[in-house]
Symmetry: C2
Subunit: 372 residues, 2 copies
């Protein structure tokens, strides 16, 4: 399937919806992808089932604190340079590329990397959302080694990695990302087509385009948007879409700590009545609480939308005074397995609570009425 340049705006906004605040702001990456596709023609998007079992694939994307990418802008050249360095390091050409997370910028970087190389991008990703750490990807959860991996910084400095576990890889790459300016391009998780089939969250690029199309077509008309959006999720790998809160951002603090954006958003109802919603951030929106009650948590998706336009908002774009609706989406079943929860449950982020699926949390009964 050809991915025409016209689909990029929908892909970008749909991917931000699924990215739960993380994955990097897509705007500059969108401009870069637009330019690259205009020059090289449409990207080739391939369904994972159409990939040869013996194909050689790797994941490519940006690693760091998303806030950094607002100033240290994504490069049009770096994904390709990183890819070539990776191929030279492992001594083998890649047959296809895959995204590690369906995050704003990180959904587009594989397209930039693949452009002009005549290799396809696989429709899907390794998270079905965005998550802050490498060991939280489906690829390592399925036992695929993270390395050999290559990291490239904005100045052309390069490093390669070979580690025993993905937790070690995450520690090394995160430290280097900090030393390299806070945001780098990596090529990692080399694997076979067969391995990818066993681990990918499939179809998330085309699903992002579908979500993005709904967001665009019903922009400013949340009432009418709801039906198509619910239907889209009902037909997907994801769980149900539900409303969590609507109100105004009254506080947002964020700092780059340990190479991640660590922050907290507080959202109050428009009339100030009732308790506020608090969202804890580590690159992504991870935990939403009303007073002491958890109303949504990782690995389920927490997404913040502009109240007027329903445009999804990256965490690093949150600002005091924004009027927002917060929605939740059940994560793909894969992430609710015991094996996945070992690395993505709330406790993995230091939160003192177990994972309870969104649909079993009480707020679910208010659901969509307040969305609009």
């Amino acid at each position: 399937m050809k991915l025409p340049v016209e689909s990029l705006p929908d892909l970008s906004s749909g991917a931000v919806f699924l990215a739960t605040g993380g994955g990097g702001d897509p705007y500059v990456a969108y401009l870069a992808t637009q330019k690259v596709l205009a020059e090289h023609g449409p990207a080739e998007l391939i369904a994972v089932d159409d990939l040869d079992d013996g194909a050689f694939v790797a994941a490519v994307g940006g690693v760091g604190a998303p806030t950094v990418s607002l100033e240290l802008l994504p490069s049009i050249d770096d994904p390709g340079i990183a890819l070539e360095a990776f191929e030279s390091h492992v001594g083998r050409k890649l047959d296809a590329i895959v995204s590690f997370e369906i995050g704003g910028g990180n959904s587009l970087i594989p397209l930039i990397a693949a452009a002009g190389r005549g290799i396809p991008v696989v429709d899907g990703d390794g998270m079905g959302r965005a998550l802050p750490e490498a060991q939280m990807m489906t690829y390592p959860i399925a036992g695929i080694p993270s390395t050999p991996a290559v990291a490239l910084d904005y100045a052309g400095n390069m490093a390669t990695f070979s580690t025993d576990t993905t937790a070690t890889y995450e520690r090394h790459i995160r430290n280097l990302a900090q030393a390299m300016g806070g945001m780098i391009t990596t090529v990692e998780h080399p694997m076979s087509g067969k391995q990818l089939k066993s681990s990918i969250v499939p179809g998330t690029i085309s699903f992002s385009i579908e979500i993005g199309r709904i967001l665009r077509e019903y922009r400013g008309n949340a009432h009418r948007m709801l039906g198509p959006l619910r239907e889209a999720f009902a037909d997907s790998l994801y769980g149900e879409l539900c409303h969590i809160y609507t109100g105004k951002v009254v506080d947002y603090s964020s700092a780059i700590i340990g190479g991640y954006d660590i922050g907290r958003a507080v959202i109050e109802s428009f009339d100030g009545s009732g308790p506020a919603l608090t969202i804890e951030v580590k690159n992504e929106f991870l935990l939403a609480k009303i007073e002491d009650r958890v109303v949504a948590s990782v690995p389920d998706l927490i997404t913040v939308l502009d109240y007027e336009t329903s445009t999804p908002i990256n965490a690093e774009r949150l600002r005091y005074g924004q009027r927002v609706s917060v929605v939740g989406v059940g994560c793909p079943d894969y992430y609710r397995s015991a094996r996945a929860l070992e690395v993505v449950a709330p406790r993995c982020f230091g939160f003192d609570c177990d994972f309870v699926p969104l649909e079993r949390l009480t707020h679910n009964h208010q659901v969509l009425s307040e969305f609009c």
Copy 2:
């Protein structure tokens, strides 16, 4: 020249004398070297002038916070593993190995690496002492690139580096050293024999053995030691040996900050009369002050000796209550050049003073009388 296993104790203690507190405690590295030389025979030590201009050489050693190496003990295998990984990374076999600093452990690690490979260790090093950061080595000061470089941690995790400047390399390798547990083995600064000839501080391994021999022969008899020690330095690349202070360690604080040991020692005279001596530490002893007056500073050597035995003491071995003599030695002329002072002057470490050569600082007139 063959370096027999019997010379290792002298090499170790002489190298700690020159290391000005840094370079890592040599005891475990000494045991490892002893075992390796017993198995493979004496190490081959080659004068830099006997090296072919076209020879391929690299520097090998430990990078990190020396305190860590007191618990994360140097490995007998890691230098060889790192060397093989480096050769495989650059696609070329090494003809010789050199040390990056004549520091306790870092004087021995090249011998471990070279053992059984049939290649010599070059007599000399890249600092003529120990210093905490890569860009302070004579090799990069002479314009030799630091990368390609390889880093190996205690668990076999590996990384390679390619950077534009040595300051960048230092930032990357230091961050990775922290992520890798605080102390790693690196192979770096690949160069030709010709490049090494233009940049090495020559003869420091055999000079360490000579200093170590004097320390051993006159152990416990500082009066008689003084003459031979002064003569040895007078015949060397170094400046004059002079006495700085004698007293008791009344305070020593140290913390691992940013991947370095950062600390401060306070030494008072035995009877508590007169002002104390303060020594600022960043892995090495860098600045000695009596009240506000600088009495010795980097790049000149500041060495702390046990008062009774004249055994040199690494910074990480300093303890409350130790009775010590502090001596200074003028650094090799190379480090007093404008080019070298750009990266090793006191201001490069955040001290608010210019470099004044040891022999021009007033304390020099008290000199050696108090040494014993």
